[in-house]
């Protein structure tokens, strides 16, 4: 799933390691999310959104639309 994690992280001036430390996950997880190789769990996505002060849909982009 496309996301703006890197954009928000860089806006705050944090390295991947710093963000990982703040979220309590490994740097590999942050790297995998940023490079679109792993979709985080809902609790982690919520923590990321809370940390950056945005809503989850602002951080993770889903183009799915409900059918009629």
């Amino acid at each position: 799933m496309l996301n703006r994690l890197k954009e928000h992280r860089e806006k705050h001036g944090w390295s991947q390691g710093e963000l990982a430390r703040r979220l309590g996950v490994s740097r590999q997880t942050i790297n995998a999310v940023e490079t679109d190789k792993y979709d985080p769990s809902l609790p982690l996505a919520l923590r990321m959104a809370k940390l950056f002060g945005v809503n989850v849909p602002d951080l993770f982009i889903d183009n799915w639309e409900p059918s009629e």
Binding site: G17, G24, V25, S26, R27, Q28, T29, N31, A32, T35, K37, Y38, P40, S41, L44
Partner: protein, 230 residues
């Protein structure tokens, strides 16, 4: 307070003991381990070589188990080398950079330890089964030792897991389970019908080990985590 520069140098004997102590102790422990292993398993390997030269036969189960064990030991050594030497680890693409090496070396070292213990277990089991290596205290103690090391490393690995690694582990286990179900189950059906030989206990251990390795590769590949390394 004395600065580091003003601190008196330790006595020559103390410095020599520090310099030589660790290598000597390590060499002693390693030497005793090798001598014990040679005493216990040396003739098993001799017997293996003799049978491979045509003096007797070796079961396919043992050859497969030995090959799997040797592969695990080889993998463990490569991973251990990368975890201990950052230059090699980064060059071999086990780690992205020095920071990554510092973050992940503990996990990789425990993986190497677990992999080595698992490989050693496979080799011992392979030697016991066809070579009639007596299942006495030395073999049982060795198996127990490696089983404890394997359990300890697994515990340490799981402690270091975060949700990405838990996810990879789940995918790996799923592939291993369904693989065992299809291959082992299918083979057992054929064996029950008398159309194939019955799988020996050692075959099941080898099958589960191979499927765990394959599952691990698939799990990492599906996440695109291998593309940078190939």
């Amino acid at each position: 307070m004395m600065s580091a520069a003003q601190e008196p140098k330790p006595h020559l004997f103390v410095r020599l003991a520090k310099w030589l102590g660790l290598p000597l102790m390590g060499g002693f422990v390693f030497g005793v381990a090798i001598a014990t292993a040679d005493n216990t398993y040396g003739w098993g390997f001799d017997e293996l070589v003799a049978r491979a030269s045509g003096q007797g036969s070796i079961s396919v189960s043992s050859i497969v188990a030995l090959a799997v064990g040797a592969l695990l030991i080889l993998v463990s050594m490569v991973v251990a080398a990368g975890s201990l030497m950052p230059g090699y680890g980064i060059k071999a693409k086990m780690f992205e950079d020095r920071q990554d090496w510092e973050d992940q070396r503990g996990l990789h070292l425990m993986s190497a330890l677990g992999c080595f213990a698992w490989g050693a277990l496979m080799v011992i089991l392979a030697l016991v089964e066809p070579m009639a290596l007596p299942v006495g205290p030395p073999v049982l103690w060795s198996l127990a030792l490696f089983a404890v090391i394997l359990a300890y490393s697994c515990w340490q690995i799981v402690r270091r897991f975060d949700e990405l690694w838990h996810d990879l582990s789940k995918v790996m286990c799923t592939w291993a389970f369904y693989g065992a179900f299809v291959i082992g189950g299918g083979w057992s059906v054929l064996a029950h019908l008398g159309l194939a030989p019955v799988l020996a206990p050692l075959d099941w251990i080898s099958l589960l080990t191979i499927l765990s390795l394959v599952g691990s590769i698939i799990a990492n590949g599906q996440r695109g985590l291998l593309t940078d390394k190939l």
